[in-house]
Amino acid sequence: MRMNILRGAGVLSVAVLAGGLAACSGGGSSDTLTIWTRTDGEAYMRDLAQKYESANDGLTVEVTAIPNSDVSTKFAQALSAGDVPDVMAMDVAMAPYFVSKNAFEDLTDRMADLDYADTLLEGQLDAGTSDGSHFVMPFTADASALFYNKDLFAEAGLDPDQGPRTWDEFVEAANAVGDLGDDYEGYHFSAGCGGCSAFVLAPMLWAAGGDFLDSSGDSLNPPPMLDDPLTVEFLETLKSAVDGGGITSASQVDGGENYGGAFESGKLGMVASGSFQLSNFMADPLPFDLGVVPLPGNEDGQIAAFSGGDVLAIPNGAPDSEAAWDFLAWASSDDAQTALSDGGYTPIRTDLLESVYGEKGPEYAAMAEATTNGRVPITVAFTAIYSDANGPFVSLMQAGVFGDDVPAAAAAAQKTAEQIVSSNE
């Protein structure tokens, strides 16, 4: 009996040792560049990786894709353990948080040496800027704009060539399309998903000169202004679309799973989405005429966009910082950015946006305009305030837009948001 036990224990320890040796993946070999990206960006990252490999003999690029919703978790864990990749590609909205935690190397000097330094998209650059130093390199842009179904507009008695240019026109259009029938939606957004809602709604508030967080200072942790009169006015406007049948409960329950709703099926009048969606629509032509306009403010001529997308950064403690920078420089260069643009992705260089990208068609030009005017909400608490399904922004959407008492909902959300901001001081 004892012999069996000892033998068993021996086998186990050998297994453990063997496992340990096997797990010793060689770290920081100078011939391998490790890149982490989110699964959204996996396709183009792998394409670029291949290009980069063929341009650099003897270099292997290892791309690891992490499920979107788990990128922060995984990266933060890796940081705390010191097990980081050479290059980290992450959602630009996450950047301020990690910048505030000193997760990334300072890129300011190296960036200044680039000859296209001043054509880099400001919105994205600012998200990774602290005290004048830059910590992220813009990589791909994904600006939000308003897509609408021209055929449905015509059917509803609206001018198909004119997308909404003010909040009022927006509500009018939504309600008109919603009136076409039970299965029709005027406008759809994922009210259960904070990041998604912010992506599509914040620009409309920005265009009017307002904001959900007061970013007038340079702070990475701006205070909230969810109960500001303009904010409340905006929410009341959205609520009037709910009351008028333009926005339905389909938006209320959508936690992001049905983002874009039924646009392709032709029963949705308008949806705000990003450039990625534009390339999808262009690749698989829709069964109706597509219109694209920038997101409007409450007065004619006001436009804005949420400039999302990915940025690149070099985590502190990366195995090969020099090789990492070489990649960052290459990824933002004409070569790579043009390749991205050809693939339907939006470049982060204002010069290329105008020339290569904008020239692909009027919809692309509209998108280019939106992108150049794009902003990112810069806050270390992006996840806690916006993305968190149990956070104040989502509550604001649910209780405010779909509820009965907008001011009360706004006040409650403001209080929660203030708590979050103060806990980050």
């Binding site: 009996m1 004892r2 036990i5 068993g8 224990a9 186990l12 978790t73 933060a76 864990q77 940081l79 705390s80 990690f98 935690k101 997760a103 259960g192 409960s249 389909a250 209320q252 329950v253 936690g255 799973e257 049905n258 709703g261 039924a262 996840t383 806690a384 968190d388 399904a389 149990n390 509550s395 649910q398 209780a399």
Partner: protein, 304 residues
Amino acid sequence: MSISSKASGTTSRSRRLAWTGFLCTTPALLLTTTLFVVPMGLMVWMSLHDWPLLGEHTFIGLDNYVRAFTSDGTFLMSVRFTLIYTFVITPVLFFLGLGLALFVRRRSRGSAFFRTVFFSPYVIGFAAASFLWLWFVDPQAGPVAAVAHAMGWPIDQVSWLTETVPGLINVIVMVTWKVVGFQMILLLGGLNGVPDEVIEAAHVDGAKWFRRMFSIVLPLMRPTIVLLLVFSVSGSLLAFEQFFLITKGRPDNETVTAVYWIYNASFKKFELGYGAALSVIMLIILLIVAAVQVRMMKGVGRDD
């Protein structure tokens, strides 16, 4: 002489036997110590600190615990919700499981088939099942909506995802669907330990059926039932994925469970110290609940 010394347990032989017994448990104990007890100890240590995932940690004593019980209203709300959920779902699962077990006992070719069908939802993971259910009850994209539409029945499915009580019921239905097969199987085993005549007699008597079940059959199954309840209650108290994915805590964090809140603290807000404190509190709650249940088992059969 040998008998008495065996009884007293002081002979070298009985000591050697005792050692053998202990050694048999050693591998399991070793693994548990390394990957449970040690991390657990680390976690208790972390709970006494303000320990953000990124950054410096500072010792703050019991502040996290104080915070859990005073300023963090959501935690207490989540514990209350978790308890309500457990109290509701445990009898539902038990009685449905019992019903199915009785149903499936019939000596018929169909029994094996039905047994498999009732158990099959259990084999999917909780996360996958939650996603599947989310699609299943989606008011726009899901099969339930499709059936309702085809039959011309208008159902308000929106409230299933956005309001507290319908949301709770929605999740309970989903969990029952998924888990009741497991309860059925365990209870089947327990029933098989009860002599057939007892059960048959209960059947025939009609109205007195319930009484017979409760006063005779169930007590005979006590060990199985306690085993079942310990796992069922522990599992329910630790419920997380189903609420995280289906109701997402709506409305207003009213359908957030305790572990959901712990996840939020540790993996969303990266406040590891606070998450650790909440986990310790849950652990204590669970240990107490389990101890109460195990005490119910005392005196029946060969147990310590």
